[in-house]
Amino acid sequence: MGKKKPEHDRQPETVEIGLPVDCRMAAQAALLSDLLGALDAPATQLDGRAVERVDTAALQLLTLFRREALSRGRAVSWLGASTTLCEAADTLGLVQALDLPVAAAA
């Protein structure tokens, strides 16, 4: 999925946010401030490919970010997401809300 990253999408206004390997609660204060900053950008690309550990709080945070960004007319997309991340979203019934590829969960 990393290969799908098209160069021409990378306009200067696009903010890219990489999720940490351990994306659990202790890492989320920093993530929250990144996401709050990204709310002002026209487009945000989330990179969840490195994520090895994740919790409900992380998915709640991402869900809320996406919902709020979309409501402000911003674009949110995924550069990619690890299996761990996709499986967790599936378990919590958040795949659609996060617009994660279901296929990756398989």
């Binding site: 996401l35 994740v54 919790d55 709080a57 970010f65 019934g93």
Partner: protein, 659 residues
Amino acid sequence: MSNAGLAQFQQVFIEESLEGLDTMESSLLALDEGGDGELVHTIFRAAHSIKGGAATFGFPEMASFTHEAESLLDEVRGGKRAIDKPIIELMLRSVDCLRGMFDRARAGEPLNDATSDGVRGELAAMMGREAPAQAGPARRAGDQAGAWMIQFKPHAGMLASGNDPLRLIRELAGLGELVVEADLSRLPALARLDPSECHLGWSIELKAPVRREDIAAVFDWVEDECDLSIEPKPTAVVTPAPAPAAAPAPANIADAAAARGTREASAESSSVRVAIDKIDSMINLVGELVITQAMLDTFREEFDPSRLPLLQQGLTQLARHARELQESVMGIRMLPIASVFNRFPRLVRDLSQKLGKQVKLDLHGEQTELDKTVLEKIGDPMVHLVRNAIDHGLEVPEKRRAAGKHEMGTLKLDAFHRGGNIVVEVSDDGAGLNREAIVRKAVERGLIKSGDGLSDEAVGDLIFQPGFSTAEVTTDLSGRGVGMDVVRRNVSDLGGSVVVRSKPAQGSVFTITLPLTLAIIDGLTAAVGEERYIVPLVSIIESVQLKPDALKTVAGGGELFRFRGEYLPVLRLHELFGCEGAKRTIEDGLLIVVEGDGSRVGLFVDGLVGQQQAVVKSLEANYRRVQGVSGATILADGSVALIVDIAGLVRLHGRRKAA
């Protein structure tokens, strides 16, 4: 206990539980004397630990017994019941029962016996129950359904407590197929989100014919941290579901039994619990050793005479670290004497009650450390001395009052360092030794001809003589003397000595002097002919060279010399041990003035070779017991030197003189 590796913890459990019982006992005794409420917590905590461990380590009988005791303590702790004499009495007997159970556990015998059953019944009776409660209320049968609807709304704080819905829902998935729908309606604005708070909710359909309680079990830790409803799905089309997740494995009884078997085998191997800081200091020292060794190693590559001072410095360091490491390693064997002292409050209490005496026990120096082996063996002689003090030394209240003393007698146990020794004293403010009775008995026994001219010390020493005490002595002698020879023998087996000082109407002091450690001694190496002897440094007062006329020969062939105003006997080691080629003329050799068993003598040797630490090897274990020798050691050149047993020599000399 599924394997041998775990059996070691069973051993640790027994050891720490016995310590816990000691704590319970001493705290109960302190409570008895009006101690504060914190003691109840201490007692409770000890009982609680034993209970928890007993069941875990395969002693359900002990767990159930302790449970009764703990319940009673809990009522006291919770203020439902006041602590009173009967409770303390019963708890003390419970402690005894548990000790018995641990003994039987070590011996591989059935844990319960008539006494423990009886005490257990008394505990239950005190709490107003006929018999110990057995099983709890019957489990409510869970209703069953083909499929379930679960509404799960965590409270905001649930995530912070470590309960992640992700884990819970995964666990549910283990029960059967899930359809999960998240409820996003409670989410706040991103700017107001505390990521550690949960604002999501879930509606979950579980398509599996499981029992309600199987589902509830998943949420058992979060019952009060969420809104939860579990309802059967009305029109369920039952789909075959995977088997429910396995219930927690039941305790494996066969394995526990096997572990008990291995415990029997390992019960004899003793172990020492070591404080972490002692280990840390050793690790540090080993680190230092390695550094010094690396420095010295550089000399292997190139040796330049200009670096000689460095080499000397390195060797000095090496020697120092080796010595410190040796001290640290020996220190592992050192444990506080408190573990021995702690058994006395109970003994004193029981014995004084039985004899109708009032005794106050004073403990001092509990933190003084002794070699573990010494510690294990000093208990019995001390019990002997304490029993004697209460039985024969301290008077009944009326007598004390008549003698103008406080009705309450004082028994003092003290431990402290003196020189290179540990001194343990048992003293009382009782009647003191009865000189006339001792002399009379000693004459009867044929130990002495008469008491005339005998110093008080000499009279006191008589009670330690084998053959002094017999059964009838205990009945008619108001002084002491019950098996004191055994006390002295036990103490001298440990390389120590015991003496008594006594004043009529003021009391007696029994002083046990013990070596700091059994395994290593500091000694002077003395040459006698071709042989080398080690004289323990702690017994040496001085070494002197005599002028030819300083020696006095007395009737019977004994030799005396004058030292600091008193005449001391000369013991010629070459004569005692039959050494060839030794010096015989007094001015050619050296006299080492030593003290043992309260007496001083001069040991005549050729000369001193040096001072060293000697690792004591047992002669008894390798050869046989030799009088006047406490052990052997191996010298730097590989030869063997005998270690002189000063107290033994002094006694040997005394007997020869008497003969």
